[in-house]
Symmetry: D2
Subunit: 247 residues, 4 copies
């Protein structure tokens, strides 16, 4: 049994994670820590791994405390930027004994979609991305769509792929969407969606598609469990879930 | 057996139509007429119905000749505009004995898609249209997508539907697509597609979609057969296949 | 403001309906009635319409009470069978002043899917139904899939459509699915789905599809609101939401 | 310029391949050989690579001839079974200088679909395969569907994945489809399809899908070109396009 402390345990991701970790084989939650609670509950509870779902302003302090006390950490806090990652790297030094796993995206489905899209990108003549989100989202396109398009554009550049064919000369209202790395990205905003994305590929006489639909937060839990289970065996800083998943 | 003359019989739609009509129950092709052939082949062959796949500049003359000789006509020629339709109406007069059926779109699938989209439009909070065509198409969005969006916008106005929800405030590159009648329309251009369209609807906790994929010209043939079979029983000018289909 | 009493107000559908009716324009909830509460709360609260989400064994008594007191009723209780419907018809007599609307399915999306599928059925050579539900469902195929297939089979029979083409001679493990009215029906059971259905149509060179995805109970609320709003203007027994929706 | 001889050049795959190779960068067709033509046209034309689309009964002789003359071979002939592959292996010996690439499936899209399905299989709770083909196909499910399911079942076994959840107790007509390696496989037979397959994955709150649609034989040409371009750099026997594609 790996003993886990959850920081930000009363938040939406934190509380859902407490339930998921409790239900998972080989893991148990030994401390649920939230605002105002002392960090030494982590050590007093005997936690080997901490999972941080707090705020970017606090998370670096939490990670520092954990590393100094030899507790492995998974950082799920969004907005944990490159400067903070560098600070953790400096803290761990050249011969790290502790693992710090920073996870910008816990959705295994989204990670697989991006990985497969990147692999497939050089093999088809045409590519387009369609992302679909709830209509309360304020920005378009989504970060995942941009990241997916960038990965595919880079893969095509490496492979020496031709530019995508497009004879459009008349498009007065912008129906062809945004271009990211030369790849058209379309954003749908419709009630009933949470976060979905389809990557469409086309060649002469064929079509290929990869699609991911996320309906609620529970879809992140397998990623949380994989991160918490895998962090101890990866000393040093790791960014992204890919390594833990063996991808 | 209804006896049919095909005008423009050597063209792509004409020659495919000759095959389809020949194969259809209750129809036979009695004249295949192309450039340079005299129109009186229509009457000498005993044709009761003429199917015109020529050019807009010629088609009106052909229709006039047919009406004067009591031959029903299906006009499949693209670009047969409102002025020409009015000319035919004037020609037929108040008590027409002959039927002239003008068909801008022979795809029964596309007609059903538009009809269903129009019916469904007031029942969902969100609507978006995604049309997908081959990358050699020069204009975006497609005429069918525009027509579909216009029909849905009109249906929503009649029903007093609320505007589509959309909180987007940041969309620097136009990922949200074109707006037609307030409805977002996205155009995909990818090898492997001929002409496809998906109409997406969304409400709280649900999604609904209508999709049509046309892979080649053979998909128009059931519409051609329905038009040729139905024109004789509809004296006067009829525009669109809907009436013949009983929709 | 139409005044509404909800019976079975503490159940899952009942409580969600209370919220939806309260939020809807022109409707208000004046009584929330559950097990043990006296029915005369309906009249004492001045309710004009009652919405019943109780049990089949109780619902007929509730409807009878409402009709005797001149209160219109929407019956959402599942299992309200033909015998019960006949009993209500007898109760209302030949000149009914009260409306009783029995609704086996509140999903407007599912109703549109069935209606469109029925309309499209005679126009395509091939049809198949794929329904997708959560893996805890014990029966296959779903009632909606069976109903959809029956409606399409009847429409094809009326239209004199040919049997569906199928050259399969080798299918040792039953990959071709169940046949309902001659139409193949496939049932997918996968985590992440609640209740989805796709109806696929095919003709030479084309495909057509209608799809409905229901992610949670909130998708039934527009149907509940339409039923409660429309019942008073339809004296006598009405089965199904179609009439109220103007379909 | 790699000089290529096509055997079975007048057949459907052969003639399409001649066109595709001629159009490809770095490749030229120097001999089009069909029934009755002498094989020494291969050497007299200076071909470095032979592409065989003949018959299983003839193909092994062709391969033998090519290996004896130091010409690399791509075998696209279907039905080139394990016994024949072993014969080629014996022929090439321990230090092969010539490459023989045996390709059961030239569809890069289908290969990617299978590869991605195999990779994704252990990460989701539920999996189902839906394959869609034209209604003239006599067997169900398709070989690709069976192969995909077997690869996924093996990947799950290696990963120690749980059995797929399925509470179905009532399925009188077999709507749940065939089981291959424990994975449900559904076969759709509908006009308008050539060869399509969708692999559906599901987890709590999410769905994931990989789909491939092949509309005509042209979709195999990128695979043919990749095989012909890559065979010379792979001495010995290679089975499948994966290695050449760098997958």
């Amino acid at each position: 049994m790996t003993r886990v402390a959850v920081l930000g345990a009363k938040g939406r991701m934190g509380s859902e994670s407490v339930r998921a970790i409790t239900a998972a084989d080989g893991l148990e939650v030994v401390a649920e820590i939230d605002q105002g609670d002392p960090l030494d509950l982590i050590t007093s509870s005997g936690a080997e791994v901490a999972l941080d779902f707090t705020q970017p302003g606090v998370a670096l302090d939490n990670v520092t405390w954990c590393v100094e006390h030899g507790v492995h950490v998974v950082v799920g806090t969004s907005g944990f930027d490159d400067d903070r990652i560098e600070a953790v790297r400096a803290l761990l030094g050249d011969e790290p004994a502790t693992g710090v796993l920073i996870v910008p995206n816990f959705s295994i489905g989204a990670i697989l979609m991006m990985r497969f899209a990147e692999t497939a990108a050089p093999f088809f003549e045409s590519i387009e991305v369609i992302e679909m989100h709830h209509p309360d989202k304020i920005d378009a396109p989504s970060g995942t769509a941009v990241r997916t398009a960038e990965l595919m554009a880079a893969a095509r550049e490496t492979a020496g792929s031709a530019p995508l064919p497009d004879a459009t000369t008349t498009d007065p209202d912008g129906a062809r969407g945004a271009k990211v790395g030369g790849i058209p990205v379309h954003a749908v905003r419709a009630r009933g969606f949470v976060a979905s994305q389809e990557v469409l590929f086309g060649g002469a006489g064929e079509g290929f598609a990869i699609r991911h639909d996320s309906h609620d937060r529970s879809s992140f839990m397998p990623g949380v469990v994989a991160a918490v289970s895998g962090v101890a065996s990866r000393p040093g800083v790791t960014v992204g879930l890919d390594a833990v998943l063996g991808l």
